[in-house]
Amino acid sequence: MTAKISRRLVLRGVGGVAMTLPFLESALWTRRSGAQNMVAPRRFVAWFVPNGMNMQTWTPVLGSQAGVTNWVATPALTPLEALRKKILLVSGTDNQAISVPGSPPGDHGAGTGIFLNGLSVASNLKSTARTSVDQLLIPMLNPATGSRTKFPVLNLGLQGDNGLCDRVDCTFSRAMSWLKGAPQPNIYDPGLLWDKLFKDFAPSAGGNAAGDAAAKQLIADKTSILDLVKGQADTLGSKLSPSDKIKLDQFSESVRALEVQIQNASTSTVSASCTPNTRPKAGETLNFDRGITPSTILQGHMPMFLELMKLALQCDMTRAITFMLGNGTSNNDYAFVTGSSTPHHATSHHDGNADKLKKLTQVNVWEMQQVATLLSSLDAIKEGDGTLLDHTTFFLGSDISDGAAHNHWDMPVLLAGGGAGKMKIDGRHINYVTHTTTPRALVGPKGGPVTGRILLSIMAAHGLVQDTLGSVTGGPLSELMA
């Protein structure tokens, strides 16, 4: 029987360009005190915030295509002031042409559905070509010759499986990670996330729980069960039609991924020094039937997720994380931030109303406070010649720019971290368009390069050099690259 190649290794060939693995071709990452030859793994973290921004309180006044460093922090960016040197603001990019709504989807569905994968939603509803950057980067972050984490990627979300679907399949609003057309559901429960990371965790070499024979036997049992399941799928697969076989392949790959996880097949040794936190208490369970995420969940779960994201990276349980702070078209109520009813989507349809705009700013400030908490916690972890943040590429964006106009140009984008040493994340504000009024208009000028080229830039920095991604063409943006 021919050996099956993991779909993720196959993805490595996307673009058909020979991969050069930066620094990672050296041996396992080991942690030795006074490390001389420490080669830290690279990580990728992507955040989606819904409903755009109050752009007047987001975009700093000073900016240029080459980027300037003397920009003054706007209210939304003030939480990130201490991390200024390690962020890169990219303003004035234009995703309109590839994010247009169709019949379906609406603007939010179109913008959320394309966010991390670059493939237009309209006309591509069932395309098996839709694969997001987190999935594409997995083999780059976990090379065959180097160490490998227990979880190739963690897809997380705050809102839960509810909310408006904007005239298209709900998956385009609720999933950020896509693998060959299959939306990857988010983990919404921090307790469940903790269990996946730490329930069977025992700090020993490689983070294996199999320190004793009994634990080893249980792992062997589960492996035998899953081997039988895989065998059943293989027997079936040979008899199915191609479109059915795709479904079975999704299944088989998932079985395989679970085997890797169960065997604690992380070959990373950093977990030896990992210290789990206390399991989050099972608070109010996310009741998807209720349809609205209570603010107690939003407020309660957010810090839990921030802590677990940090720990997951620090303990090298994963090197790729996607996080949806809200689903597309999210109507999460931010009354706990503003003091009065603030359903996010409804409020983002401000129609120029000063009160709504003020509330939007407050929401954006809260969002960036969460970002700042995560980034500064990563920056506090020393790793060899730098910090964990230096070894991470952080990308944040939204489905639209201004909430009332639903425009997909002049998009809000924030990058942070080290960019794998190949991006110039150095405290600049790059702005590809020029604002003619002060304060800038709520809806900015069109033009500027396609927003999706930022994704191509991130990929190139990690050794995945290609000119196109889905509907995005033109290759990386030189202003972003070192």
């Binding site: 069960i225 799928a233 479904k247 299944f251 998932s254 609205i292 109520d333 349809h349 009332a404």
Partner: protein, 524 residues
Amino acid sequence: MGMPAPRGLWHAPPTTSLDSGRAVLARLNVPQYDNTVRDLLGTRTQASQAYMIPADEENELFDTNGQSLVYSDFRFAQMQQAAEGLVAELLARPAADPVRTRVISCTPTVPTMSTCLTSILTPFLAKANRRPVTADEVTPFVSLGIKIATAHDDPAPGLAGALQAVLLSPNFLFRIERSAVAGSTVPVPVNDYELATRLSYFIGSTMPDAQLTAAAAAGQLTSGASYEAQIDRLFADPVRSAAFVQDFGAHWLSLKDTALVAPDDKIFEGQYDDALRLSTPQETSLFFADLIAAPVPLSTLLTANYSFVNDSLAKHYGIPKPSGPGFQKVSFPSDSHRQGLLTQETFLAVTSLAARTSPVKRGVWVLENLLCDGTPAPPPGIPNLPDEGTGTVRQVLEQHRAQKFCASCHDLIDPLGLALENYDAIGKYRTLDNGNPIDSKTTTLEGAQLDGPIALANFVAKDPRLTWCLTKQVMTFAVGRSFEQADARAYVRGTAEQLGASPSWIGLIKAVAKSQAFLTARGE
């Protein structure tokens, strides 16, 4: 090689053109999985909640589309947790518990593993796979059990492991069908076991029960001998008919969206509470279930002069409280302004905004859910209508007519929603909007004059699109694929035309269950 001779229910090809669609292999969706393990293992646990199985991917209102349903690492990891937990729960039951002995018919010991496991797993695997199994199919599970038991020198983990493997096999987790000819586009009748499975998940969202399986074993389904009787029997089962109302109705009638209703606190202070929100979908569920059971013509959905209300809804509707506790069937007097689905809280509230009605959303809902005649999304960059203002919502919407470009769609949508303006954003009857009298006289695109909600309901009830649209909705749910393409729509229309003058819900359901789309499969 020619196609098999037509037999039983699949008579000569229908006079409508064959549609070119194909249902992709479907995994069990979340409600189907929950119900199936309930019936297979006797568990009272709602597995999807207990084991945090992610929600399903929806398509065209429903969650039964095999093309859209997906396996991901996360989903399978949770299925593995569920399999472990559910098997442990079963084995932890007392030895004499009939729920346990139904599955565990002998007590294995390490020396007797092979015979005992074989006698447990042969019927269990057949039930799980929803078809007879050969000895060769059972052997790997028995071998697995022996291997694990030997390693532990204990039969218990061996038995548990073998049962878990059955619950994780794709033969259980997917509704596998093998009758179609690989690579061929010619529809082939599915076999009795496959038909029993399709019917059982259509009506009840669960695995076939013993009687249905026996009918399949005797070939009585494809021969037609007891097919219709089985449909009647399944619907008579209250658990199954409730599941149909929930799993079909929750999506088609937007029952799930009632939880999203969040009226503006200031405007509707004191008029809307959690009791009302929770009562809302119950009214419509009971109403829909009654329509099926009665049976009455499909159009009664719109024309019914009765509904099911409790105290909370009665107060909200301004009608006398029901005579007993909970929900009661109440008739509306002849001069009532309430009639049928379109004046029920569910529809009125889920199609409104927080602060005001949205005739556009209401019109779109009627067009898409009842007439299957929706319009494209609005073009990008359209500003919202202003929230504040001194006029009525109708006056604000006049802007749609001012521009020809907008009018092309809005002349279709707005008249339907505007006819309902007497119901405010929380479904309460009113005669004034913003202090101005409401004018609910509208003219549809086809030229029909409507004067208020009852006229609208009667208009939809008589519309020829209603029957075929309801047929399309049921067929989409039952067959698990899209019928949006032109030839598929024509096929559905052909099926609907055969229903006769005023079909009932059961008549429609049976017609779908007897349709070529439901009875056959294609390899390609």
